[in-house]
């Protein structure tokens, strides 16, 4: 279980980082979402992975750590709000700047445009 869990987190982080380094805002937002999924899983595992354990004291001799679950819940809520914000911002960037490139313009396109103007 540990191996599966760890490789899941690792794969999500890899995909997330790869997508964040792309040049279009849409892929960057996807990458951020992937990264936050990975982070949530990782945060959850910080209380150790276990099966069939109660989260409430007194109902079972062994219990799971309830704190990481609360932390993950908080992280999910915050991550959700932030993702919503960055999506809106990306849309606004697209309309304001006329391009969904993270720098507001595609570098090559601009240089060719400049050349045309010079000619």
């Amino acid at each position: 279980m540990e191996l599966l869990y760890a490789s899941c987190v690792g794969l999500l982080v890899t995909c997330g980082v790869f997508l964040i380094l792309r040049s279009r805002t849409f892929t960057v937002v996807l990458g951020l979402t992937m990264l936050s999924y990975a982070v949530n899983l990782f945060l959850f595992s910080s209380g150790r992975l276990s099966l069939n354990k109660a989260a409430v004291l007194g109902y079972s001799s062994e219990y799971a750590d309830p704190l990481p679950q609360a932390l993950v819940l908080t992280a999910i809520v915050i991550g959700f709000a932030m993702t919503a914000f960055v999506v809106i911002l990306a849309i606004r960037g697209q309309t304001d700047l006329g391009s969904d490139h993270v720098d507001g313009h595609t570098p090559n396109k601009k240089s060719t445009q400049n050349k045309k103007v010079k000619v």
Binding site: L43, S46, R48, L67, T74, G79
Partner: protein, 504 residues
Amino acid sequence: MIQNLTFLPILLPMLAGVFLLMPPFGTNKKSRRFASVLLSAVTFLASLALLLKVQADGIQVYAIGDWSAPFGIVLVADPLSTLLVCLTALLGFVCALYASAGDDEKGSFFYPLLHFLILGVNGAFLTGDAFNLFVFFEVLLIASYSLLMHGGDKRNTRAALHYVILNLVGSAVFLIALAILYGVLGTLNMADMAQKVALLQGDDIYLAKIGGLLLLVVFALKGALLPLHLWLPNTYATAMPVVAALFAIMTKVGVYSMMRVYTLIFGEEAGELTHMAQSWLWWLALATIAMGAVGVLASKDLRKLVANLVIVSVGTLVALVAVQTIEASSAAIYYLVHSTLVTAALFLLADLIGRQRGETSDRITAGPPVSQPRLLGVCFLIAGIAVIGMPPLSGFIGKVWLLKATLNLEYTMVFWPLYLLASLAILLGVSKAGSTVFWNHKTKVSETLEQKRVHPSQLVALIILISGAPLMAIFAGPLSEYAIGAATQLHDFNNIKVILSGGQ
């Protein structure tokens, strides 16, 4: 009421933000402005009351929901955090006052966002819990995202997009660091973490080190430490100046978190992890100072210039944090207050100068003269002298103190020349900017289209900030005593027991 005083600097801005969204403040411009300035003044007074109480009774520990220290979240008001809370509240008040001259109408919800930002910053200063620190970071960040977009244009959208994406990645790294530290230490209360770090054995030490250094990445991003400083000049220069002035406190949140984490948790008594971040902090800080100084020389408009001055001040502060002696920390506390006030004042000044120069705006080139050269010139002179660190103002005292605090170090021979050269660069940059803006004219006064005067509330806000420099020099005695006291408390390991026992 009196035992809940610790919570007020967080509660009051939150209530203020909510009230300002509701009628009659939501619809009526005048009442909204009045209420906003009044409520930020109330927050400031509550912070001041907390400061006096901490001075009289020692550290205040407030357990939220009465869940005691290692299990629940505690707020810890010690001299350092209350001082910074007061500074934040003062800055909030000044910015509310300044914006009431018309900047608040350039977008929607300026005042509620301002109060939510103060809520986040105050919470980050007061909290004693690492995860709660993350939550307050997010509160202040989401307020800052919206404030950054306030009244913005296209350039602003691009800078905001970069800022938001960078900070979202930063938040993800923050959570990973917290998860590692919780997995190893089994607690998120900072005082409890400091106790448990010393007891670590075997591989756990390296895990804790990874967690601690990932935290460094996050704080370096928030505090704009090299190489994670690239977002700052663009963000601050494209935000509205009053927002940039308010943001002057935000880099300090990063520096403050470094102070807490690397002197309390990974400080003197952390076993094998003692001072683990020191060498990283030290060399990165020196590089930041150099980079900021180059930026100051290269800046083409006043707001970029001030943004680069912010980078230099962050570098200086982090260098002092890395030294980790009581004297260096007290110098850092004094310098922190000074640099926040003076950079905020310079952002407001750049705005006023830009408005009076028409199309030339705040670019450092010859242009139409400002319509109130004496007033703005004198203000610029005072703020300039303070930020360069020339006698007799507060910058000079801060500079002498920090040079004295770094006198007997291994690397003094590197730090002193570098810092003094950086000061020279600032001197050159600021004086060139000042003389170009105020003395180098293209057109005569009569030819300027319309005479824009400084609005009275803008003037009051500016004077409050500017007067910080001479006042901090006049009252340097009591202030430095306070800073030394705060630094002693910061380095005092016995405080952990006070925090864990709930302030008894």
